[in-house]
């Protein structure tokens, strides 16, 4: 099967039911997406498939037909995505393990909604678990990123 990740095509010989997360992590060595729950509840594994936020732990790799973007492909230290830039400015991360998923969720949400209300931001970010309790900073970061992206 063919999988395009961060612009790079890969030919893989995998059982189609293997979750995308494990194809990325253990077969391709792309470890930005994290294993947290394996059942689509925590959001640490969130990646973009065709630009949409997807929980890669619950998406069979065989069902993935569109290009995949992981946190590594969203932006780099030298070329930051606006969401990553505010995440650094506000020092959101503590342990950081959930933050790949938080950032990917926020980036996909803001790409589809340039003028979100505070309530929409809360709702969009409420299905990503953070055990360290960075929610106040995530909330502030998404609001600032929305402003930076030209909406508000």
């Amino acid at each position: 099967m063919r999988l395009v990740v961060n612009g790079q095509p890969h030919e893989l010989d995998l059982e189609p039911e293997m979750p995308l997360l494990w194809a990325l992590r253990d077969e391709l060595g792309i470890t930005g997406p994290k294993y947290g729950c394996g059942v689509g509840v925590c959001g640490a594994c969130t990646v973009h498939v065709g630009g949409k936020a997807v929980r890669s732990c619950s998406a069979p790799v065989g069902s993935v037909k569109e290009p995949v973007t992981t946190i590594e492909g969203l932006g780099t230290r030298e070329s930051l995505h606006p969401v990553q830039k505010v995440w650094i400015e506000l020092q959101v991360a503590q342990c950081g393990y959930c933050q790949s998923g938080q950032i990917m969720t926020a980036a996909a949400f803001l790409a589809g909604n340039r003028q979100p209300t505070d309530e929409q931001i809360d709702q969009a970010m409420s299905a990503n678990l953070c055990r360290c309790g960075t929610y106040p900073r995530i909330r502030a970061a998404v609001r600032r990123a929305a402003a930076a992206l030209g909406g508000r």
Binding site: E15, M18, P19, L21, W22, R25, D26, E27, G29, T31, G32, P33, K34, Y35, G36, C37, G38, V39, V41, C42, A44, T70, I71, E72, L74, G75, T76, R77, L80, Q84, W87, I88, Q91, V92, A93, Q94, C95, G96, Y97, C98, Q99, S100, I103, D122, Q123, M125, S126, A127, N128, L129, C130, R131, C132, G133, T134, Y135, P136, R137, I138, R139
Partner: protein, 748 residues
């Protein structure tokens, strides 16, 4: 054997490291700050060795031996060294170093004796010094108890200052200019004529200099880093997905494994049918481990899939099967035989309660078992090769881990190389070594290649050593509008006894943890007594963010709120009136001012106050809630705390916010319950805490009025739950005496 010899060996190794080219600048001769005569009896000078700075051709490396679990410990330790070493922020590398007795924690045991943090008397301070000495003697390298800053505040700055002095001495020798005419800036020595000599070119010569017997630390007004907002060293990497946690490491030839063991902890495995698992795609082999099975495959998910096909027969648990039976044990523990401590006993509590007769108040409170459930499932990579172990994992106890791994492999601890990793959370869980021991067992059965053992989330949640449940029976009397008597009986299993039993030892004396955050509160109630009862161990338990105070803040502060309410007094004013400690009083006054305490709120809204002194830090929190048609919302939380000095204002605020969310989220929603002697919660759909939409606005104020510098990772947790419960009472009139609160009220 072992420990003293290990110290000697480490000392030797560090000495040879300097000769071999890299340089370790150690504060070999500096005057140790602890003024305890017992120190003079220690031989070898090992305790004065503080190898925190390495300089080699590649530059400067700061060794940060306390684990970074998300609390920013690497950055904080580096900042303390860098401030005095005088290097630019971020111009150096950070390494956790190897396990060593030299990295003993001098602060973590300081509060392990029955003196309240507010007691500054001779005996209390002597006991705290003893805690440091014991820790030093056993080389207790541990991350916990909010002790990284108190332990490192002087020690790490001294290490930086001594290293700088050695570099200056080397530069003086090289240039012929007196040390007093030289200065330093951003990793360079600067001569009077403006020549700049980089530290990295001076390292080898500096190693030959004699360490100064005294160094002078900067006055805080001269600080360039400490006290200012700093960008945590790990922030950019964590925001771009490139941080490698232990679970992310890959090595050539590595295989992937998982384990299944009995969720009835200690029950063992009677038999297993592994035919289907063996035949599953990608499975390399299946190996027995203590109490279960390890599955080795060519991919983690394939290992998980195969493990799910195992048909194990688990043995019975060495404890009761259901939560209700365990609660019966707890309820039956308020006996003289199980009385563990009574460190607070003022006035005549029994007399005051009996003379109040029917006017006395009483209530029973309960808090549940809770899982640590760090988001990174527990994992370790282990390679067993020619009688030696290499281990890559995150841990709070590197030396215990080394010993535990060595014991399983039947080798010496010196033949265990630990590569400490950044952890995706811990909250106390990585004080245990069980997951690493399992990985070692798997690796021994499949030697020669690295084996990455990862727990499934389900294995992680059902094989925790949880925060123990606790029950309080409280009685009290109010008189003339004041709290007159307060008797608090707390029954809980002992975390310390459970942990020490896993280290093969027993706990001498009472466990302060059973009453921490309750017995040591700075209130002058005329008749005041706190008694701890030790529930015989059922489920093995362990330390969870803020440990005993995580339960006792709720137990103590909710019933105190009941008494104050019954007295018709104001919760803030009555606590201030009762308060015997200046710093604690200032914290209460500050939170009152911040929160507009006493100003009117709209109908359906309420404010709750709670105060807990834990880990030496007084924290007062006011929670504001609204009772909406959709349920309770938590709108704002105000936090005032006293830590002596805030060293990194941004990370400080993050730690307080995180502690409050941790305390509130678990109080709202979380519990671990048992059926068939197994946890009933297996994944985050049943154990979630709070979500972002439920998170309040959190306003933090740190007071810096006392001398002692403290850590802030844990102290904000204990007052959060009682402040929320007290706010719910204020808004609804409903007194909830059991956590999680959702069993009694609905949250929006």
């Amino acid at each position: 054997m072992g420990r003293v010899r290990t110290i000697a060996r480490r000392t030797f190794l560090i000495g040879t490291a300097a000769v071999a080219g890299g340089l370790v600048v150690g504060a070999i001769a500096y005057h140790w700050p602890l003024k305890n005569p017992l120190l003079d009896d220690l031989d070898e000078g090992d305790a004065a060795l503080t190898p925190y700075v390495r300089i080699d051709r590649n530059g400067i490396t700061i060794i940060t031996p306390r684990a970074d679990l998300g609390q920013g410990a690497y950055s904080m330790q580096a900042a303390l060294v860098a401030e005095e070493l005088d290097v630019a922020w971020g111009s150096f590398s950070v390494e956790p170093g190897l396990p060593s007795a030299a990295y003993y924690n001098g602060a973590v045991l300081a509060e392990g004796f029955p003196f309240a943090a507010t007691n500054d008397g001779f005996l209390a301070n002597r006991a705290r010094g003893m805690g440091g000495v014991i820790s030093k003697l056993i080389g207790l390298q541990i991350t916990g108890g909010s002790s990284t800053v108190p332990d490192g505040y002087e020690k790490l700055r001294m290490a930086g200052a001594v290293a700088r002095q050695l570099l200056l001495a080397a530069a003086a020798k090289q240039t012929g200019v007196a040390v007093s005419a030289l200065r330093t800036q951003d990793g360079e020595v600067i001569t009077p004529n403006g020549d700049r000599i980089p530290y990295r070119t001076l390292g080898a010569a500096a190693a030959q200099m004699r360490a100064p017997s005294h160094v002078t630390l900067k006055d805080p007004t001269e600080w360039r880093l400490l006290g200012q907002p700093m960008q945590r060293l790990d922030i950019a990497e964590k925001s771009t997905g490139v941080t490698k946690y232990g679970i992310d490491l890959r090595f050539p030839g590595m295989v992937y494994a998982t384990v299944r063991t009995n969720p009835r902890i200690g029950g063992g495995m009677l038999s297993v049918d592994d035919a289907a698992a063996k035949a599953a795609k990608g499975v390399i082999t299946i190996v027995p481990i203590t109490g279960g099975v390890g599955v080795i495959a060519d991919n983690s998910w394939r290992a998980f899939q195969a493990a799910a096909l195992l048909q194990p027969q688990w043995g019975p648990a060495p404890y009761p099967s259901t939560s209700s039976e365990i609660w019966e044990n707890v309820a039956a523990s308020f006996t003289d035989d199980l009385k563990d401590s009574r460190f607070k006993n003022e006035g005549n509590v029994d007399g005051a309660i009996s003379s109040a007769g029917a006017q006395a108040l009483s209530a029973e409170y309960r808090v549940p078992f809770l899982a640590h459930a760090a988001l990174e499932p527990l994992n370790a990579i282990v390679r067993f090769d020619e009688g030696a172990l290499a281990i890559w994992t995150g841990t709070q106890v590197p030396r215990f881990l080394q010993e535990a791994a060595a014991k399983v492999a039947g080798i010496h601890a010196d033949d265990v190389t630990l590569h400490a990793q950044i952890s995706g959370g811990s909250f106390g869980r990585r004080l245990e070594t069980d997951y690493v021991v399992q990985a070692v067992e798997v690796a021994i059965a499949y030697p020669g290649v690295p084996v990455k053992m990862t727990w499934t989330r389900e294995e992680d949640m059902t094989h925790d050593f949880p925060r123990p449940l606790a029950m309080a029976r409280a009685r009290g009397v109010v008189q003339n509008g004041q709290v007159h008597a307060y008797a608090l009986d707390i029954a809980s299993p002992s975390v310390s006894a459970s942990q020490t039993s896993r280290l093969g030892a027993s706990l001498p004396g009472p466990d302060l943890g059973i009453v921490a955050g309750a017995w040591d509160q700075p209130f002058a109630i005329p008749h005041y007594r706190v008694t701890g009862y030790r529930v015989p161990e059922t489920v093995p338990v362990s330390a969870w963010r803020s440990v005993g105070a995580s339960a006792n803040g709720f137990l103590h502060e909710c019933f105190l709120d009941e008494l104050i309410h019954a007295a018709g007094a104001d919760p803030l004013r009555e606590r201030i009136r009762l308060c015997t400690d200046d710093a604690s009083r200032r914290v209460l006054e500050a939170v009152g001012e911040m929160s507009g305490w006493g100003t009117p709120l709209a109908a359906g809204r309420g404010r709750g106050l709670a105060f807990t002194l834990s880990f030496g830090v007084p924290v007062a929190e006011v929670v504001e809630v609204t009772n909406t048609p959709a349920g309770i919302t938590i709108d704002r939380v105000f936090v005032a705390c006293e830590v002596g000095r805030v060293l990194d204002p941004v990370n400080f605020e993050s730690q307080v916010e995180g502690g409050v969310i941790w305390g509130l989220g678990h109080a709202m929603n979380a519990e671990i319950t048992y059926a068939d002697a197994m946890p009933e919660q297996t994944n985050f759909h049943q154990f979630y805490g709070m979500n972002l939409g439920q998170a309040p606005v959190i306003v933090v104020q740190a007071l810096e009025t006392v001398h002692q510098v403290r850590g802030i990772g844990e102290p904000p947790v204990p007052p959060a739950a009682p402040a929320l419960a007290n706010a719910i009472f204020a808004a609804t009139g409903q007194r909830v005496r059991e956590l999680p609160l959702r069993k009694h009220v609905r949250f929006a």
